[in-house]
């Protein structure tokens, strides 16, 4: 299943998503979607380097589905995080 790497920005705690260039973005559609273990490993290495630079914390990958080319988180939890807001 395709996946995206996420974290929280160290200073603000905000939800961020990794791009293939090693930077972090707030908008889920701008994140880099990878499919397959090797591609994910590559992203995770970038994320780890960012952790070492004290830019982010709590890094992990989560599953997404592609809907008309755009990533949509599979879990409710990640949908709520991606909205940067509670649902109430």
């Amino acid at each position: 299943m395709p996946s995206i790497v996420t974290a929280n920005d160290l200073r603000s705690g905000a939800v961020v998503y990794l791009t293939g260039a090693g930077g972090w973005v707030c908008d889920l559609p701008h994140a880099t979607v990878v499919d397959g273990a090797d591609a994910l490993k590559g992203l995770e290495a970038l994320a780890l380097a960012s952790v070492e630079r004290n830019e982010v914390t709590a890094v992990y990958a989560f599953d997404v589905r592609l809907v008309e080319g755009l990533p949509e988180p599979v879990s409710v939890r990640e949908r709520i995080r991606a909205a940067h807001a509670p649902t109430v």
């Binding site: 929280n8 200073r11 705690g13 709590a58 409710v76 509670p86 109430v88």
Partner: protein, 567 residues
């Protein structure tokens, strides 16, 4: 209320400056997250779904107007203008930035507040009866002892790295309004022989994955010896508590593994070895603390105020608020006012900065500058002259805080759930809102009578679902949010853990299921004064189960049980 002396103030200021240094070292990269995490947690700072969350301590639920004003400043300046009161009588801010926390902690320290003992495996903030000092049924003011325990437990080196967190609750009244039987240690102030007061001590209560009602370990510990007795309990727990398994680490597991008699024997043996005089609170210190809580002299008022009585007759909504949210005070002519943070459709326990300021002003003008937070996520003005009740009510209406629903089905306890919490399985706030809206008609809610409905977003049970007359637990069923209903729980003197009624419901189906449960009760109650809980205890689970799932068939029952085991 207790006012910090130079020692307390110095300690809190020192902690604030240490934390400032820790944060700056983290931001500079001198501390890794692994090194920093225990430090931030010792200062109440969690990382949640969207941001950091700061949990500020409100020791035993007591706040001054000035402190609430400061919380409003924090909400406005560093959060999104909101605070959320919790079931531990604390307040959480959900949108905090790490880089702002040193300034927030300083702002708290200036008004004698902090975020210590709101996280980690220490003795957490002691909770107490929100009506302490003013309740008509009080034997002795529990705040004095809660404050003594705060001082005893704060950064106590032996109790800072325990197997798990440790929660103590105290009630000094005949009626338990602090859910003491659902705490690691529950304390009831009682009168002993000759009228001297002491503590009845309960141990091993708690909710979470393995809920237990606490058991009595001592019928009477003289009050002057309570600190050393508690220390003996802590020692036995610290020695034998399961550090190898987080799910078995709470004292309730130890008490139930050893049995209460063996646990008691070990505590007494330990107690006998302690240098009690060195641990117990010296009489002079007790007197010093007690002085802070001495009742202020109140100007005498008649028990009833004519203008309030007239308003009661002419204004049904005011009369309802008086009936439900206003309680008798130990001094005639005064009242205890419950401020509901449970307007149907709103987020239980949430309060805006503007509302905080309104309440602070009411406390300052009409309430002797004192406020309480309840574990049901409401606020209390503990001392209001009866002649001021209409003025207070009108100000509360202005601030959308005059909902009259204390202890009714819409007075829902709900944890933040999956909208904020990192550990959640399911959302709880939206569910609380949906249910409250179904019962929003105040007449309907009042006709149902006292009914505790509690919601947790996961088995950690911060929303006290086990203790709800109707409890709702969010579970994850193959990636979708489902909700399990428990019935018959109670947090009071007749404490009980609720029974799971059957298979879980989807979020869409749940409010209807709750309506079915309530309708079943209404159809079958013997009289209007038979409460939901009493009726449930008389009727048992079956009629509710049949109303929810259809007539019982042995095979179907077996299948449902299987499903329960799988959620």
């Amino acid at each position: 209320m207790y006012r910090y002396d130079a020692f307390d103030q110095g300690f809190v200021a020192e902690r604030a400056s240490q934390f400032r240094d820790q944060v700056s070292r983290r931001l500079a990269g001198d501390l890794t997250e692994e090194q920093f995490k225990p430090l931030r947690l010792q200062n109440g700072l969690y990382l949640q779904l969207h941001a950091y969350m700061l949990r500020v301590a409100v020791p035993y639920g007591v706040l001054s107007g000035g402190q609430l004003r400061r919380l409003a400043v924090i909400a406005r300046r560093w959060d999104r203008g909101l605070g959320h009161f919790t079931t531990r009588q604390n307040i959480q801010f959900n949108w905090i930035k790490l880089e702002d926390t040193p300034d927030i902690i300083d702002a708290l320290a200036e008004v004698g507040m902090h975020a210590i003992q709101t996280s980690g495996n220490c003795i957490r903030n002691v909770t107490a009866d929100p009506d302490a000092g003013v309740a008509v049924d009080e034997i002795e003011d529990p705040r004095v002892w809660a404050e003594a325990m705060r001082q005893w437990s704060t950064i106590h080196p032996e109790f800072t790295f325990m197997p798990r967190k440790f929660k103590i609750a105290i009630s000094g009244a005949l009626e338990d309004r602090a859910a003491v039987l659902f705490h690691d240690v529950g304390l009831r102030i009682v009168k002993g022989k000759g009228g001297a007061t002491g503590f009845r001590v309960y141990v091993g209560g708690g909710q979470g994955r393995t809920p237990y009602v606490a058991q009595e370990i001592a019928a009477f510990v003289p009050r002057d010896e309570i600190l050393s007795y508690l220390e003996a309990i802590m020692r036995v727990y610290n020695m034998h508590g399961r550090r190898d398994n987080i799910y078995k680490a709470r004292i309730k597991i130890l008490v139930n593994a050893l049995g209460i008699d063996e646990f008691r024997r070990q505590v007494e043996a330990e107690w006998a070895t302690l240098d009690k005089a060195a641990i117990n609170l010296p009489a002079a210190e007790l007197a010093r603390i007690a002085e802070h809580f001495a009742a202020k002299p109140l100007v005498k008022h008649p028990a009833k105020a004519p203008k309030v009585e007239a308003r009661r007759k002419s204004d049904a909504a005011f009369a309802r608020w008086m009936r439900l949210n206003v309680l008798p005070h130990r001094v005639p002519g005064y009242a205890i006012v419950n401020i509901s943070l449970k307007e149907p459709g709103m987020i239980p326990g949430d309060i805006s900065a503007d509302q905080m300021e309104t309440v602070a002003e009411l406390a300052e003008r009409f309430g002797g500058d004192e406020l309480r937070v309840t574990y049901q996520q409401n606020l209390v003005l503990p001392t209001v002259a009866v002649g001021d009740l209409d003025t207070v009510y009108d100000a509360l209406i202005e601030a959308a805080l005059a909902t009259a629903n204390t202890e009714l089905i819409t007075d829902i306890i709900a944890c933040p759930g999956l909208d904020y919490c990192n550990l959640a399985n399911a959302r709880s706030i939206g569910i609380a809102q949906d249910i409250a809206k179904r019962f929003a008609d105040p007449e309907k809610a009042e006709a149902i009578g006292p009914l505790r409905l509690n919601i947790s977003g996961c088995i950690n049970a911060c929303g006290h679902h086990h203790a709800g007359n109707i409890g709702i637990l969010g579970v994850d069923k193959k990636g979708t949010e489902h909700y399990q209903i428990t019935l018959g729980g109670s947090p009071k003197d007749d404490a009980e853990v609720g029974d799971i009624v059957g298979p879980s419901f989807t979020a869409e189906a749940l409010p209807g299921a709750v309506e079915t449960v309530v309708a079943t009760y209404l159809e079958r109650r013997l009289t209007q004064s038979e409460t939901f809980l009493t009726a449930y205890r008389r009727l048992g689970k079956l009629p509710f189960r049949e109303a929810l799932y259809g007539p019982e068939k042995p095979r179907r029952a077996a299948a449902s049980e299987l499903e329960i085991a799988n959620v």
